[in-house]
C-alpha cells in the first residue's frame, strides 16, 4: 500500500473536504470576493481607479489568500475536528495537498473574478469619459485593466505565497484563534524587523531619516532627502529570496509541521 500518495485516496479526501467544508471554504471565498468588490468601489471613489485596482488586488489576493490558508487547516480549533482530521487514514502529503489545492483554487478563482470586476470598472470609467474633451485620449489610456504580468501583480503574488505559507504554518502551530495569533506574529516580526534594521543603519550611517529592510534608506543631506537604494545585484538576490526561497521554505515547513503535529 502506498503510504505517501494514492490518487484514489486523495480523491476521497478532496471529496470529503469539499462536501464537509462547503460552507467554510466557499463562504470564505465569497466573503473575500465581496470585500474585494467593495474595496475596489470605495477606493475608486476616494482615490481614483488606478489606486483602487492595486489596493483591491492586494486586499483580495493577499489578505484573502491568508484567510483561506488559515481556514484550510483550521481543524485544530476544536478537539473533535482535530482528532478526526489527524486520524483519518490519508497520508500527511495528501492532507497537506488538500489544503494547497483549496488555496490554489482560490488563487485561480480570484484572478478570474478580479479580471471580471476590473474589466467592468475600467469599462465604466472609459464609458464615463467625455469623448469631446481635449484630454480624452490621455484620460482613456491612463487607465487599463491590471496586467497580471506587471511588477505590481508580481509583488502581490510574492506576498500571496509568503502570507499563505505563514498562515498555513500558523494554523498548524496555534490551535485556537490561529488567524489572529498568526497575524499578530507577522505584525510583530515586521515591526521588530523594521526597528532592528533602523537601529543597525543608524549605527552605520549618520543622518538617517528612515529605512526599510532589504529595500531603501532615506537620508537627510542638508535640508533635502536623499535615497540610498540596494544595489541591483543585492536587490535581485532579495527578490529571489522573497519570491521563491522564502515561500518554498514556509510551505515545506507547513508540511513538516503537519507531519509532526501533536494534538
Amino acid at each position: 500500500m502506498n503510504d505517501i500518495l494514492s490518487l484514489s485516496r486523495f480523491g476521497w479526501l478532496i471529496r470529503k473536504i469539499f462536501i464537509e467544508k462547503t460552507a467554510s471554504v466557499f463562504g470564505s471565498m465569497l466573503l473575500c470576493f465581496i470585500v474585494t468588490l467593495v474595496f475596489y468601489g470605495m477606493v475608486m471613489l476616494l482615490q481614483g481607479i488606478a489606486e483602487a485596482q492595486n489596493d483591491a488586488f492586494l486586499v483580495g489576493l493577499t489578505l484573502g489568500g491568508a484567510l483561506m490558508a488559515s481556514v484550510v487547516f483550521g481543524y485544530f480549533s476544536n478537539d473533535a475536528t482535530g482528532v478526526s482530521f489527524l486520524t483519518l487514514p490519508a497520508s500527511v502529503l495528501e492532507k497537506w495537498l488538500s489544503g494547497i489545492l483549496i488555496i490554489g483554487l482560490y488563487f485561480f478563482l480570484f484572478l478570474v473574478y478580479f479580471r471580471l470586476i476590473d474589466l467592468a470598472f475600467v469599462a465604466q470609467y472609459h464609458h464615463n469619459l467625455n469623448t469631446h474633451s481635449p484630454y480624452y485620449k490621455e484620460q482613456y489610456e491612463l487607465v487599463n485593466i491590471l496586467r497580471f504580468t506587471d511588477s505590481t501583480a508580481a509583488q502581490n503574488f510574492t506576498m500571496f505565497f509568503n502570507f499563505t505559507g505563514i498562515m498555513m504554518l500558523g494554523a498548524l502551530f496555534f490551535n485556537k484563534a490561529a488567524f489572529i495569533k498568526t497575524a499578530l506574529v507577522i505584525c510583530s516580526i515586521l515591526v521588530a524587523g523594521f526597528l532592528l534594521n533602523l537601529f543597525i543603519i543608524n549605527l552605520l550611517i549618520k543622518n538617517v531619516q528612515t529605512a526599510f529592510p532589504f529595500s531603501i534608506v532615506w537620508l537627510w543631506v542638508g535640508k533635502e532627502r536623499a535615497r540610498l537604494d540596494l544595489s541591483s545585484e543585492n536587490a535581485d538576490i532579495v527578490k529571489i529570496a522573497f519570491r521563491f526561497v522564502l515561500p518554498a521554505i514556509l510551505w515545506v515547513l507547513s508540511l513538516l509541521r503537519l507531519k509532526e503535529k501533536e494534538f
Binding site: 500500500m1 503510504d3 470529503k16 462536501i19 478526526s84 486520524t87 487514514p89 494534538f263
Partner: protein
C-alpha cells in the same frame, strides 16, 4: 497487538506523566482502562493512535509505530475521542465520504448496529443530540471492522438504556482478531463487559490483569463490622454492611466490583501489586 516498552511521556520534558511503562495488549480481548481524572488515560490512548509522541520508549500497534500516522496503520485502528465530531451530513452521505477510507467497512453491519442503538434518522448528524451523535460514531467505528478500536469515555453522554445497549453491542461485535480498549472513569459502565482491567494512577501501571485472574486472586465480600480474619485491601460502608476486598485464599470466585477494585488499587497499590505479583 499493542505493546508499550519503557514508555515515557510528559507534556513538559522535566515533568513526566508516565515513566517506563510496560504494557502489552493481546488480540481477542476487551480492555478497560481505569484511572482518576487527570491520571493520563486520554494521554495514553492518544499515544496509541499517534496523536501524541512518547518522550522515550516505544509504542507499537499492529507492528506500526503510531507516530508515523501512515494510512496503512490508520485504516487498522479507529479512535473514538470523548468529544466526537460529526459534520452536517446525513448518515448516507457520511458513509459515502468516510467509509472508503476503511477497506473492511460493512454497510449491513452499520445498519444492524444503528438499529441496535436505536438510531434511525434522515436528519443531518450535527442536528442530533450529543448522545445520538456518539452512538452513531460508535456504530460507524464498529462497522469499520478495524483490528483495534480505542474508545475514550464512550459512555459519557449516553442515557441509561443506551449504556446497556452499548455493552451488548460491544460484546456481540468482539472477535478473536480485535482489540477493544475502553477508557473510563465510570467503572460501572464496563462491568460484565471487559476481559481485562488496566488501572493507571500517578503515571504508573497499578494493575493489568484479566478479570478471571482478579476473581482468583481477590475476594469481594460483605462482612461483619468486626471482621479481622485477613488483611483488608479496601473497605467501605454500605447499607447492606461492610464491603471489603481481601485476598482470595479459599479459591471461591466472587462477583468483581470494579469500583471497589479501582479504589483498592489506587488507595493501596503496594498491597494489590503484591497479590498479583505472587
Amino acid at each position: 497487538m499493542i505493546l508499550l516498552d519503557k514508555f515515557c511521556f510528559g507534556y513538559k520534558a522535566n515533568s513526566l506523566l508516565y515513566q517506563n511503562l510496560q504494557l502489552s495488549l493481546e488480540r481477542g480481548r476487551i480492555y478497560g482502562l481505569l484511572g482518576k481524572n487527570g491520571a493520563g488515560k486520554s494521554t495514553l490512548l492518544k499515544n496509541l493512535i499517534g496523536l501524541l509522541y512518547p518522550t522515550s520508549g516505544t509504542v507499537s500497534v499492529n507492528g506500526f509505530n503510531p507516530s508515523g500516522r501512515q494510512p496503512s496503520f490508520l485504516r487498522t485502528i479507529y479512535f473514538i475521542p470523548e468529544e466526537v465530531y460529526v459534520p452536517a451530513l446525513t448518515i448516507n452521505n457520511y458513509v459515502k465520504i468516510f467509509a472508503p477510507f476503511y477497506p473492511a467497512f460493512d454497510r449491513t453491519m452499520l445498519n444492524t448496529y444503528l438499529e441496535k442503538l436505536d438510531i434511525q434518522t434522515d436528519k443531518k448528524l450535527n442536528t442530533l443530540s450529543f448522545g445520538q451523535q456518539k452512538k452513531f460514531i460508535i456504530a460507524f467505528a464498529l462497522a469499520c471492522n478495524t483490528s483495534v478500536l480505542i474508545m475514550d469515555e464512550p459512555t459519557n453522554g449516553l442515557d441509561i438504556p443506551s449504556k446497556k445497549r452499548f455493552r451488548k453491542l460491544i460484546s456481540s461485535s468482539m472477535h478473536d482478531d480485535r482489540i477493544i480498549f475502553i477508557s473510563t472513569h465510570q467503572t460501572r459502565d464496563l462491568e460484565n463487559l471487559i476481559d481485562q482491567v488496566v488501572i493507571v494512577d500517578n503515571g504508573e501501571l497499578v494493575l493489568n490483569a484479566p478479570v478471571e485472574v482478579i476473581g482468583q486472586k481477590l475476594s469481594f465480600k460483605i462482612v461483619e463490622e468486626n471482621y479481622n480474619e485477613q488483611p483488608v485491601f479496601y473497605e467501605e460502608e454500605l447499607l447492606k454492611g461492610r464491603a471489603v476486598i481481601i485476598e482470595n485464599t479459599n479459591g471461591l470466585e466472587s462477583q468483581i466490583n470494579l469500583e471497589q477494585l479501582f479504589n483498592a488499587a489506587t488507595e493501596n497499590p503496594v498491597m494489590v501489586k503484591a497479590v498479583f505479583n505472587k
